[in-house]
Point group: C2
Chain length 329, copies 2
């Protein structure tokens, strides 16, 4: 019997049933293979624009080997910082010049490694670089929101297989984040509490959707997911802004993210996935209402035209079942 | 230079640039071929659940050949009418039993035809059946919204290639529709006018995004699309409810829909696509604020993980360019 469930933050209803287990989805082959032509491999630094930031061996020269994590401008940016921000009205429509930044972070020099193969120290450097780029871009005039995200595997939109993330700085807050902010502010106004903190409390209490935890973070499959095996990672302590977490918390994030990705890899046979970080916008005025977190979405179903058009997601796996598979992996 | 544009109804910003023309997308082969095993072909009526409605030769028997359009329950429904509607709270979460309906409308008996191959009379029967099912389902207790949609081609989610549409009746209004209603109501409150009527006036004035028109309808590429070559069909006269259009208007809808699909087929080489109808919910109290329409989305780009997570659509084709290609086809 299918069930309808409502997300308590944005108010989205979804339809959910038991029709698919972890082995019922089509498979992607996500083993990295095309090292010979990879522009992200060490020794080919000239094939990317000059590096913006890197974690590299002491004394090594920018744009040469010796780096562990390397951030460069995206060669095909969706937004650039070259022009002035101009806003125009066009009758009932609004437009802005495409001012922003689009960076690529190469997460390790080895073409054959993915995030789950990194040592905890190497994974820690990825998170540390996330925060450094996040903080830097947050300071730039006109940038209102910084999105950190990863596409892994061709079904999830990765066009280069060498492990990497992307960072986009925007002159406005994207829609999904605006909706979360509005929903969380509304909840806070009524209850005087953070909706995400309440969610954490209930997930602890219900237990069945828990995937993993450590000192600082909880990983769980949300009650009203949009996608099968969707998993969120959320700090137990209330923080609106990812830019503010300290080094120790970064280490805990690195640990739980790697743990969850390992579980997803094992249970779903190395699927393509997307993840992204939802944090408060730059200079957000209501930090007690919002709670930053990460959302991880294994890309298991190919077609979502109907979902796009209606916002009605049909999810073939209950979160408590997905969580059980992941928890036990 | 990329540009940011804002949709005037729901307030969604998108990023748009010139990077792709009609021949720059991967191709699907959408020629129907697997007639031998098709459960929707005449003579195999027993392979679907018993028909709910049909347009068939006078005196022919239900569930036998002789039909032109045939509506049956979906064999794998996402919602069913079998149980009572029950609503439960679960801490901060809300849930409902999955009460609804899920029907399949087989649009013509010939396995090798798609909508663009139908005569205008045959296409008219499809639209007429849409409205008949829509009206019928709208009357059922608990059904708050009826979605009519079509997935054409495997990339768009069609699992059976024989031409068909689907109809889902829901016990709640899906998110995308709620957002449109809210946006349109807000606009109406401020301006005392329908935002869609204003959009039609501006599209007429700007001209560059027009694709086609006839006595009752306008087809255009929206100013702030989510997808390349996205095209909307909207009645020129203000109607909130698709269920209310008369037979003559149905004929005009049938004509313009077939015309636009023909143009999309020609310009984009028979791509997969989705379309769906956005109409006011059952018993909607504010019909002067909303304006029903259809949205057609060619499925040209495979991966949208980032868009899912952020609501930030990156569109590779400006609507005025898409419209020019379609208009001139």
């Amino acid at each position: 019997m299918p069930e309808l469930r409502r997300d308590p933050v944005v108010g989205r209803w979804i339809i959910i049933d038991h029709s698919k287990g972890p082995t019922d989805f089509p498979k992607d082959d996500n083993t990295p293979t095309r090292q010979a032509i990879c522009p992200f491999c060490p020794g080919r630094e000239v094939r990317t624009p000059p590096e913006i930031d890197a974690i590299r061996a002491y004394g090594s020269t920018p744009d040469t080997p010796g780096w562990q994590v390397r951030t460069v401008p995206n060669k095909f940016p969706v937004l650039t910082a070259q022009d002035a921000l101009e806003k125009h009205g066009n009758g009932i429509y609004d437009e802005m010049t495409g001012v922003g930044a689009h960076e690529v972070m190469i997460e390790c020099p080895d073409h054959e490694k993915t995030l789950t193969d990194l040592t905890s120290e190497e994974m820690g450097m990825v998170i540390s670089q996330y925060q450094r780029r996040y903080r830097q871009l947050s300071k730039v005039d006109h940038f209102k929101y910084v999105v950190i995200f990863k596409n892994f595997g061709s079904s999830a939109g990765a066009t280069v297989e060498h492990t990497h993330s992307q960072i986009i700085a925007l002159p406005m807050v994207p829609k999904t984040v605006t909706e979360e902010l509005k929903g969380a502010e509304h909840y806070h106004q009524i209850h005087g509490r953070c909706v995400f903190c309440d969610m954490i409390a209930q997930e602890y209490n219900d237990k069945e959707r828990l995937v993993a935890e450590n000192n600082s973070f909880l990983a769980f499959c949300p009650y009203a997911p949009r996608y099968a095996f969707e998993t969120w990672i959320i700090p137990k302590a209330h923080f609106a802004d990812f830019g503010q977490i300290d080094q120790k918390t970064q280490g805990h994030l690195s640990q739980i993210l790697q743990d969850v990705l390992q579980k997803i890899k094992k249970v779903l046979d190395n699927p393509s996935y997307n993840y992204y970080l939802h944090t408060a916008p730059v200079e957000y005025s209501n930090p007690s209402a919002y709670h930053w977190h990460m959302e991880i979405i294994p890309k298991l179903t190919r077609s979502v035209g109907f979902e796009w058009g209606t916002g009605l997601h049909i999810v073939p796996t209950f979160p408590q079942e997905a969580a059980r598979f992941l928890r036990e992996a």
